[in-house]
Symmetry: C2
Subunit: 143 residues, 2 copies
């Protein structure tokens, strides 16, 4: 089974033109569950596609977000991250190594507080920050 074809048809079925760039970006997101930034995607794909521009990566990610293919995470200042897993889950961002971890979060599926009655909720995000296990160990060693 050919994955490239899978993603090609996935895009086509959603009514999006399955250009080479879009298929490769979608492929990358499925294969690399690292909540990448646009820059990371570009850095990893451009060696194999020398003409790929950052603009296209940005355009494509915006398109994917609007189509509901990815969710956008604004957990850190400055750069946005993209998650191909659009299910409800929490995100932990390590202040030291920058890695973003997933964790299960039932709070995101529960009832909405009455203070928000009448509000239309489109997105729910639960973000934790701190030190991941590995970085915490390293910090302790240093002092």
């Amino acid at each position: 089974m050919n994955r490239t074809i899978d993603y090609y048809t996935e895009l086509a079925q959603r009514g999006l033109q399955p250009s080479v760039q879009r298929v490769r970006i979608l492929e990358f997101l499925h294969a690399n569950r690292i909540h990448p930034t646009a820059e990371q995607i570009w850095l990893r794909l451009s060696p194999g596609m020398p003409t790929l521009s950052r603009t296209t990566v940005y355009n494509t990610l915006k398109l994917f977000a609007e189509a509901g293919i990815v969710q956008t995470l604004v957990i850190e200042e400055k750069e946005m991250r993209f998650d191909i897993d659009t299910s409800h889950h929490g995100h932990f961002s390590c202040d030291r190594c920058g890695t973003v971890f997933d964790f299960t979060a039932s709070a995101l599926s529960g009832a909405v507080p009455s203070e928000l009655d009448g509000f239309e909720i489109r997105e729910r995000h639960l973000y934790y920050k701190g030190l991941c296990r590995e970085c915490r160990t390293k910090e302790r060693r240093k002092g």
Copy 2:
């Protein structure tokens, strides 16, 4: 009772030099619970303090954040918001008017999932996005 004096001593007690700029920014944050951006604070204070620079506003907010006087919200892309209320609560950001609302969120005080065992959690944020009551009504009127 003189509020300016209160904030002056609050800063002094925390070991921060209570400069005119810092007192005014602290005062503004207490009086305007709007989760302002650095730019908003500068826009509102500079008419009364013509020499106030954006740099000072940024420096001061960073200082306040490090001192635990404010919490920083990265709910929206691009600009950071500052909240003088450092207690556990959720934030709702309206996609249309940009207003950030508070809501009670017990999920932020509960237990941490076992997936994060060994992690050091320093911050927890719950962000909702969508349309606030008022904007939802307006959207419906438009069709």
